[in-house]
């Protein structure tokens, strides 16, 4: 079994316009840089993206925004995108903001065969508008539904050709949950290792969740606060 695809362009080639795509990362940390670049080159349109943030002007998903590829977005924080602000205000992009933990749990649920679940988060706020609420025990809760995607693009530190993945420090974030919640999961890794090199007790994403593995290259990994301060010229 060999899930390694030799180029990022080949790995994303069958992603269709209009697809729902999850992208891992928190801020610019642990984002699939290589796969995003390939997706921009592919030039698909009308994507429905799910990602905690949306990059910054000039990097990460910001490049997808600039390419006009995104029709709608579900995330929890999009603070640093001036272009996004303009697009939303002009009605060019449909933005849904939801609490970060609810986002993470809805994605996990999408991978775990749980169609819906109750949370206390957002009760009495706009987040709960139009949603079922109910008392369980002594407290009120909001019903939230699973999120599932056509494609998940995730970034790991090391991986093997069976799709087993490990992550490094806070670059883990949404990547493992998203890897479980799509029909097609493509992982980019910094280092490809042989099956058996990753300690089986330490594998975070078992290969069953991963369809394709791409070795990324030339990681920029800008630190968001510094990147923004320098005007994106890092």
């Amino acid at each position: 079994m060999n899930k390694v695809v030799l180029s990022a362009d080949a790995a994303v080639a069958d992603i269709a316009s209009g697809a729902t795509v999850m992208l891992g990362g928190f801020g610019l940390c642990g984002i699939p840089e290589t796969l995003i670049a390939a997706l921009v080159r592919l030039g698909v349109q009308g994507l429905h993206t799910i990602s905690n943030n949306m990059g910054v002007d000039g990097f990460g998903m910001g490049l997808m925004l600039e390419a006009g590829m995104i029709a709608s977005h579900v995330g929890s924080y999009v603070g640093e995108n001036r272009r996004l602000e303009t697009m939303v205000l002009q009605g060019q992009l449909d933005l849904t903001l939801i609490p970060q933990g609810t986002l993470a749990e809805r994605i996990r649920a999408g991978g775990a065969g749980i169609p819906a679940f109750y949370v206390p988060t957002g009760l009495g706020t706009v987040v709960a508008e139009g949603k079922e609420t109910r008392q369980i025990g002594e407290r009120m809760y909001v019903l939230e539904h699973a999120l599932h995607a056509d494609v998940a693009l995730v970034k790991a530190w090391k991986g093997d050709r069976l799709g087993n993945l490990v992550y490094r420090k806070t670059a883990r974030n949404f990547n493992p949950a998203m890897a479980t919640a799509a029909d097609l999961t493509i992982a980019e890794v910094e280092e490809l290792v042989e099956p058996g090199e990753l300690d089986p007790d330490q594998i975070v994403t078992p290969g069953i969740y991963v369809d394709r593995v791409v070795v990324g290259a030339a990681y920029r990994k800008p630190i968001e606060a510094e990147f923004i301060r320098s005007g994106g010229a890092a």
Partner: protein, 220 residues
């Protein structure tokens, strides 16, 4: 000493040995500098880390190691990393002893607004709604009034809420307020101020505690 530092030093007094604490971006982060000596407090960052250490030395930043404010941080011995789904399971599941957040408005019912101003651009709530719904104790740390001199402690919040009935305590440079079933109880006032002076700068009705005293703080 700035008002913000006084707030951070006062909240630091609430820390206890063995506490696990999540600090919001901005003012709350200043509390890390005032943990009493010899006390073990573990800071969580909701992007997926327990045991967050201080900022790295210049040039030593690791882009794979950031806090929820997207600033580079360092590891402390015994730290751990986990995914977002686990990080928020931890938060929502009531495992954080304390969450300290900034606010734009708080009201007499313990409602909190800290994530959006309609008409201006929506940036998103990030993890704030999860934190106020899940932590065992939610402390709001903020300057008492807006730059324009308006009260941030209101009879009822006017901005979209982050959570309803979620705030346990409000700390400003002027006072400590405990949110109770009866309303907002003024328990401490900053040195040199009277309860009446604090009430004058506050829209919400403050119930002056019979034991109201001068605000203390760590290392002051």
């Amino acid at each position: 000493m700035s008002g913000k530092e006084r707030i951070a030093r006062r909240i630091a007094l609430e820390l206890r040995d063995g506490f696990y604490v999540n600090l919001g971006i901005g003012l709350p982060t200043m509390i890390t500098a005032f943990v009493p000596a010899g006390m073990d407090v573990t800071f969580q960052s909701e992007n997926g880390m327990l045991g967050v250490g201080p900022a790295p030395a210049a040039g030593a930043a690791d882009p794979d190691l950031i806090n929820a404010g997207k600033q580079p941080v360092t590891e402390l011995p015994g730290c751990s990393y986990f995914g977002s789904e686990e990080s928020f399971a931890m938060i929502r599941g009531g495992h954080m002893d304390m969450s300290v957040l900034g606010a734009m408005q708080v009201d007499e019912a313990g409602n909190l607004a800290n994530w959006t101003i309609p008409g201006k651009m929506v940036k998103g709530m990030g993890g704030a709604m999860d934190l106020v719904a899940g932590a065992r104790r939610v402390i709001v740390a903020m300057e008492h009034q807006t730059k324009e001199g308006a009260s941030r402690i209101l009879k009822a919040c006017t901005l979209p809420l982050t959570g309803t009935h979620v705030v346990h305590d409000i700390v400003t440079e002027l006072c400590w307020i405990r949110v109770s079933a009866e309303g907002l109880v003024l328990t401490e006032v900053a040195e040199g101020l009277t309860p009446q002076e604090v009430q004058a700068r506050t829209e919400a009705k403050l119930i002056v505690s019979p034991e109201v005293r001068t605000m203390a703080m760590v290392g002051a």
